[in-house]
Amino acid sequence: MTFSDETVMAYADGELDAATRAAVELAMASDPDLAQRIARHRGLRQQLRREFDPVLAEPLPDRLLAAATGNALAQAHSGNVVTLQRRPMRQWTWPQWGAIAASLVVGLLLAPLLRRAPTEGLGIRDGKVLVSGTLAHALTEQLASTQTADAPVRVGVSFQSRNGDYCRTFTLHEQNAVAGVACRDRDSWRIEALAAAHPAASGPGVYQPAASPLPPGIEQSVSELIVGEPLDAKAEAAARARGWRGP
């Protein structure tokens, strides 16, 4: 059986349905050329990531948008990225202590939110860090297409991950801004990655950017998790109506 380049790419990116994936794996066992094509694509993907990431991390000069916005820019920066979810292709699982250590870091990053209200919280279930309170509420209820500029949580991209869960990026506009990506986990949201981001500019003339730039580590987590298209406004509303459960 021969496979198109698109299929090979989709396999290497983990985007095939179960039946096609099984067919590719069966063919790979007896076809070294196919295995080599897949390995080549995986290598290319990593190489492209190395090209994108420095550009995504480039700070924009402060004065660049000053005239257009009447204010200094909110800039995200890389660093302090905490990735909590194992990569889909790996076969090992996180030990419990790893989740506890990760939750401490998450706690530090989310400290301003946790301090503000006693109902905010983080929990660990089956080695996963789950959120509750304001962040969980925003992830469940807020639509990117209708959210207000003063919302404490700004939701970015919504999409489906390789294992079928709905995931959403978010930015917390606190004194210490935090950006991250979380995926639906039964009735809760599981944190996949978190990173510190510079807070939005404050004071007179503050504005809501068209898209809060996500730290490169978060962009990369999205790229590794996403299957298919990001949800558009209609699909986002439909997913919310289903309680963020698969169609």
Binding site: R40, H41, R45, V55, L64, A144, G156, Q208, A210
Partner: protein
């Protein structure tokens, strides 16, 4: 010839990443503001570029969907458009990487939106795709200037080439 297109695919991803970073920092109302260019706004121009790349990639690979109208908005929100753009640029780069020199020279048959059949060498199609991107990125750069952005970051190929020396 292949090395040239591999570089152009890399440049395309690099320039789009820079452009989307500048677009994302704009206030939302300016990002959507009609400034009188062909696709009206930055929002319209960036959506058009993703759409036309998908049309050409569909013609070249037979895979992927796209709306028929050239001014269709694929993603209303910039964050989602950006995520889709990153994926598309990876797809284009992977496709270019998969081609051999003889395949670049090969004549390819495709139909335009109204069904008219055409024939072109693959390398001519790719030249058009990358040139079209640059053309509209130039408009996007001008939109940033019109909106009052002081000296938008350069999107010149030369800048990327010098950065990577």
């Amino acid at each position: 010839m292949k090395a040239h297109f591999v570089m152009m695919a890399k440049y395309n991803a690099w320039a789009n990443a820079r452009l989307f970073r500048m677009a994302g920092a704009l206030p939302d109302n300016l990002y959507r503001k009609n400034v009188g260019v062909y696709f009206k706004s930055l929002h319209g121009t960036l959506n058009h570029l993703l759409l036309t790349d998908r049309i050409w990639m569909h013609r070249l690979t037979g895979e992927g969907d796209h709306p028929e109208k050239l001014d269709a908005v694929l993603f209303e929100e910039l964050a989602s458009l950006h995520t889709a753009r990153l994926k598309e640029d990876e797809r284009i780069a992977a496709f270019v990487q998969s081609l051999t020199e003889p395949q670049l020279e090969e004549t390819w048959n495709y139909r335009t939106q109204n069904g008219t059949p055409h024939q072109q060498r693959r390398r001519d199609i790719l030249s058009h795709l990358f040139n079209h991107e640059t053309h509209h990125r130039g408009q996007a750069h001008a939109i940033l200037t019109i909106l009052g952005v002081a000296e938008p970051q350069s999107l010149d190929l030369l800048i990327m080439q010098r950065e990577q020396l």
